[in-house]
Symmetry: C2
Subunit: 123 residues, 2 copies
């Protein structure tokens, strides 16, 4: 089992981020992580998302995609995995990108957030 690889902040690309978040399952995972930061962030917490039941091998691949795009950081916590977003780093490198995407996603889901408190604006 190869050790988890995380790209350095400078190797993170816009294309990579967009591609990772262009998958509906992955945005949902990412949105969950971004909301419940630090809470129940193990992979298994997503085994039964709202409506669909996603097989765990597929979930594992999705987490890997998010990880290799630089969107999340995963570390072992005993038998589980602790997943956290790297939004602070990405905000440094690409200010406003993630908030804008998540905001648009919220609009599309019919639950537009109130104007985000600490986001959106270019750093």
């Amino acid at each position: 089992m190869r050790p988890l690889t995380h790209p350095s902040i400078d190797d993170i690309t816009v294309e990579g981020i967009l591609h990772a978040l262009s998958d509906p399952v992955r945005v949902r995972i990412y949105a969950q992580l971004a909301c419940a930061e630090g809470a129940n962030s193990s992979c298994s917490a997503f085994l039964q998302m709202e409506d669909r039941c996603i097989p765990k091998s597929t979930l594992s691949q999705h987490f890997r995609a998010l990880r290799e795009a630089g969107l999340i950081r995963s570390e072992r916590r005993g038998v589980e995995m602790l997943n956290t977003t790297r939004c602070d780093e990405i905000q440094q490198r690409f200010p406003g990108l993630l908030p804008a995407i998540m905001h648009a996603h919220a609009i599309q889901s019919g639950k537009p957030l109130p104007p985000d408190p600490e986001d959106q604006s270019s750093d």
Copy 2:
């Protein structure tokens, strides 16, 4: 030859936009169109982009991808094609999304724009 299809603004999805712009060639095309709005926007203008030479069948597919994602509008102008971005419409539906993406892309390309005048902030 089927007539060009453009999704209605309500059928445009965030995932579709992100996927379309997650391809390096397509962002470059889109960026060009967004900059030189109305100028030389035919497909053939992109036949020899900066470094790579992209075959025209491939280019055609890229334009179709952008069109079907709702990012551009294409109409015949005689023998050519006039391509224009639909950024105003998209700005209505997903405020700040495209500016943030293009801004991030500019940063990555090493030419960060000055803080965008009318963008970024959550309407």
